[in-house]
Amino acid sequence: MTSKGDYKNKVEIEWCPGCGNFGILTSIKNALSGLDIPPHKILIVSGIGQSGKLPHYLRCNVFNGLHGRAIPPAIGAKVSNHDLNVIAVGGDGDMYGEGGNHFIHAVRRNPNITVIVHDNQIYGLTKGQASPTSDIGMKTKVQKHGVMHTPFNSLATAISLDCTFVSRGFAGDVKHLSGIIKQAIEHKGLSLVDVLQPCVTFNRLNTFKWYKERVYKLEETDYNPNDKTKAFEKSMEWGDNIPIGVFYKREGKPTFEDNLPVLESRTLVDQETDPSMADELMDGFT
């Protein structure tokens, strides 16, 4: 049995006190220990951002790449060694802005990875500029007159592309978020967990209080997460009431790996090559 402590890495945490990221870190640990996945079987991939530091604070395999590029190496690692439980984490800028293209096309491919987005509706690491999910009107040091562009709706985008696990959590409700992340990791296929994560330093609009006053749990209503059209409709809800929980879930869709016959018997890194097979080919040229 693994316990939460098994995932603890003894490094100093460089997030601001009170940051929503702490709730995400705890929730991931809860989920992993709940599923009893030992640290050596986990790979956490991140990009650059406050969120990109999360893997540094976990004891497991870590790959910290480039801003916006967490998803492609996560898929690359999963495909070549699908014994790894692969989780890609990133910020809203990371995953939906700089890496937006990767996000869209990864959903289409449906690799069996979990994507957790620390959605603080701001660029945290670069000290407070608007992100693709910042609310219209929010003023920052760059968006002096307020954000003018339509926020990116990642849940609606994912549902429209038939992502088979689409969810939203709140970093201020660790118990609930832990449960969502656990389901997401268990789910076969790309699972998206968009987490409302207050950035207490730079986002003065979307605060813990702001979210707390608005969030409600889908599972506490008569919501059915298997209806895609309803899920799409639900994903549009934002403002006075913000749903959290699993928006859409579908089993049985083949994953990216399922579609690759070469992976049927074992993972790529374990496959042995037989050089004598090449001789046959070479013979054809002589």
């Binding site: 910290n64 801003h67 937006g100 670069t126 040091k141 760059v142 002096k144």
Partner: protein, 404 residues
């Protein structure tokens, strides 16, 4: 002419380097600015956003984008319509612009980008070296390097002057060392708004996208004509050699400040040992030279302002009578074990009758401090070269043996 600054105290204001650059950009009246935040460039774009919000740059749009790739691509479109354009970035952001850099130079669009020099990942490092811009040497952009905040700011105006010249029409990178220049507070003269019109003409390119006179940008060039496009780019770079000198001279005439043209020199007249470098390290080298000169060491400085076009003739002229040249590079081409100045200085002397040894040092990588001692030790090694020839042609400086 050597560096001249006709500055009195009452002309100066203490500001952050990023502010001085943003202010100079404002004074140059760009029409479109597009950028994406990245440390240590962010302050420049935040200051520019503030200017625009305050209505201080007339007729200018700031376009918020989701990546550096989009930022430069946007400017390519704007510049093609005849707009004066500006961006600023660094490191990973510049690397992400790579594909678009060739687009801009190939279409001959004189976009100006301030590169706030920073190391490249992996490993992740946000501190200063010059690997980012040096890696883009072949992208067809003019590259200028500033020694201090005043020069980095004034260079923006010089960059537009050179890039937009009808004989040149090339994009320009103005490179300034990250943190060391972008984040320091220094007394500077903010680029004078009332004088700029005596220096910089409005941008009026011969070819632009205009419904009154339709044009194609970025057309196909098959093998039968592609080479000639590249040749024309090279011709423009050659033309830029004189234009960079002239832009510096004209700048002096209007503003009374001169930092060198393609290069600048300090105490090189009788120098046996010449130190070549670019960027903020120049300040440290000047101090080292002053100290060593007191002890009778004949050492001088060749400050490289333009890496592209590479000022071969100007360099040869300075070093021809010396006994040894030291190149200091905040970059490396792995596999050659040399930085850019080392490789290129050697190359420009080959096939000439100059036979001066060149020794290269990779220095200050990923923000490592460069103490004066380090440069003094290098000068000692150069003295050895004069006495007994080269033992190591190019090497890393201050390697920490405990980590290897």
């Amino acid at each position: 002419m050597v560096e001249l600054r006709n500055i009195t105290k009452d002309m100066m204001t203490v500001v952050e380097g990023s502010y001085a650059v943003a202010h100079a950009t404002k004074v140059c009246k760009p029409n479109v600015i597009s950028a994406y935040p990245i440390t240590p460039q962010t302050h420049i774009v935040e200051e520019l956003s503030q200017f625009i919000a305050d209505g201080e740059i007339e007729n200018c749009d700031y376009i918020n984008v989701e990546s550096e790739f989009s930022a430069l691509s946007t400017l390519v479109g704007s510049s093609a319509t005849g707009a004066r354009t500006y961006s600023s970035t660094t490191s990973q952001g510049l690397a992400l612009m790579h594909e678009v850099l060739f687009n801009a130079s190939g279409m001959r669009l004189p976009i100006v980008v301030t590169v706030v020099n920073r190391a490249l990942s992996a490993p992740i490092n946000i501190w200063n070296d010059q690997q980012d811009s040096v890696s883009e040497r072949d992208s067809g952009w003019i590259q200028l390097y500033a020694e201090d905040v005043q020069e980095a700011a004034d260079m923006v105006a010089q960059a537009y002057k050179v890039g937009e010249d009808p004989d040149v029409m090339l994009p320009v990178m103005v490179c300034m060392d990250g943190f060391l220049l972008s984040h320091v507070y220094e007394p500077v003269v903010l680029l004078e708004e009332d004088l700029i019109d005596d220096y910089l003409l409005p941008f009026d390119p011969k070819y632009k996208l205009d419904p009154k006179d339709p044009k194609t940008f970025g057309a196909f060039a098959p093998p039968a004509s592609y080479t000639e496009f590249r040749y024309a780019q090279e011709q423009a770079m050659s033309a830029a050699l004189d234009k960079i000198e002239k832009a510096a001279d004209d700048f002096y005439d209007v503003f009374g400040r001169y930092y060198g043209g393609l290069i600048d020199e300090y105490k090189t007249d009788d120098a046996d040992i010449i130190i070549m470098a670019k960027g903020s390290i120049i300040g440290t080298i000047r101090d080292v030279i002053d100290n060593l000169r007191e002890n009778g060491v004949k050492v001088g400085l060749l400050k490289v302002r333009a890496l592209r076009p590479f000022p071969k003739d100007a360099i040869k002229e300075v070093v021809k009578d010396s006994s040894v040249v030291i190149t200091l590079d905040k970059n490396i081409s792995p596999g050659v074990n040399e930085g850019a100045l080392c490789t290129e200085t050697k190359a420009c002397m080959y096939n000439s009758d100059i036979n001066v040894p060149v020794i290269g040092y990779m220095i200050g990588l990923g923000g490592r401090d460069i103490p004066e001692d380090t440069i003094e030790n290098i000068v000692d090694e150069a003295k050895e070269v004069i006495n007994s020839g080269i033992s190591t042609e190019s090497q890393f400086t201050d390697l920490r043996e405990d980590l290897i």
